[in-house]
Symmetry: C2
Subunit: 109 residues, 2 copies
DNA sequence: CGGTATCCACAATGATACTG
DNA sequence: CAGTATCATTGTGGATACCG
């Protein structure tokens, strides 16, 4: 299984694994502005199903990108937010964003 | 279908669409060092099937990231290389790589 | 409100064999 | 050498219903 590749490749693929889900960048984008409740995220991303939202959040949680903060209230209140570590991907997102913007310009016209 | 999202999200997802394939970053990584023949790429990425290699190359070609250069020789000789435009993603790969490296360090130990 | 549980469709990837 | 073609398998995402 473990085949030697130039190291960089492995690292890049690692990042892709963490951020590659269809909705993860979208979720992270919204969390940049501060903690959000489950229902807020649902409202901000109307096309996502609850299953996918929870699934992607769980994965981000496992990767220690986001925190899950539960207040034991009635009704329940769960907030998601970046971990300190998670914030380290924000600067990575920026060049991704810029390149995508340029690419859209090329392809759209 | 078209729902308003913060723009940045769309751009990031665009990038992901272009680079998101399982093998694309791997291929691009090898092409960084210069043009490569089909068979060279196969040798450099032994786990990839021919079908996937050609498919991913075609997509990269369509997105104008790589050139396909055919010498009409016997035996045939086809070389793939970055387009000038394609080279613009190389700086994007670097932060991706660095972050992945840090992330691996965290998760492995 | 914030989830789970099932079942299902389809896209992505893979194995294998064959070709100009 | 550089592909195509076909079929099988897996992975990802979705619809819907239900639960504490």
């Amino acid at each position: 299984m473990a085949v030697e590749h130039p190291e960089g490749t492995v690292f890049v693929q690692t990042t892709l694994k963490v951020l590659g889900g269809k909705w993860k960048l979208l979720i992270l984008w919204h969390l940049k502005d501060g903690a959000k409740r489950f229902s807020e995220l649902k409202r901000l991303i109307p096309e996502i199903t609850e299953k996918m939202l929870i699934q992607q959040l769980r994965e981000l949680e496992k990767d220690e990108i986001v925190n899950r903060n539960v207040q034991s209230d009635i009704p329940p209140r769960v907030e998601y937010s970046f971990t300190a570590y998670g914030r380290s991907i924000i600067p990575v997102l920026e060049p991704l964003c810029s390149w995508g913007q340029e690419h859209l310009k090329r392809t759209e016209c």
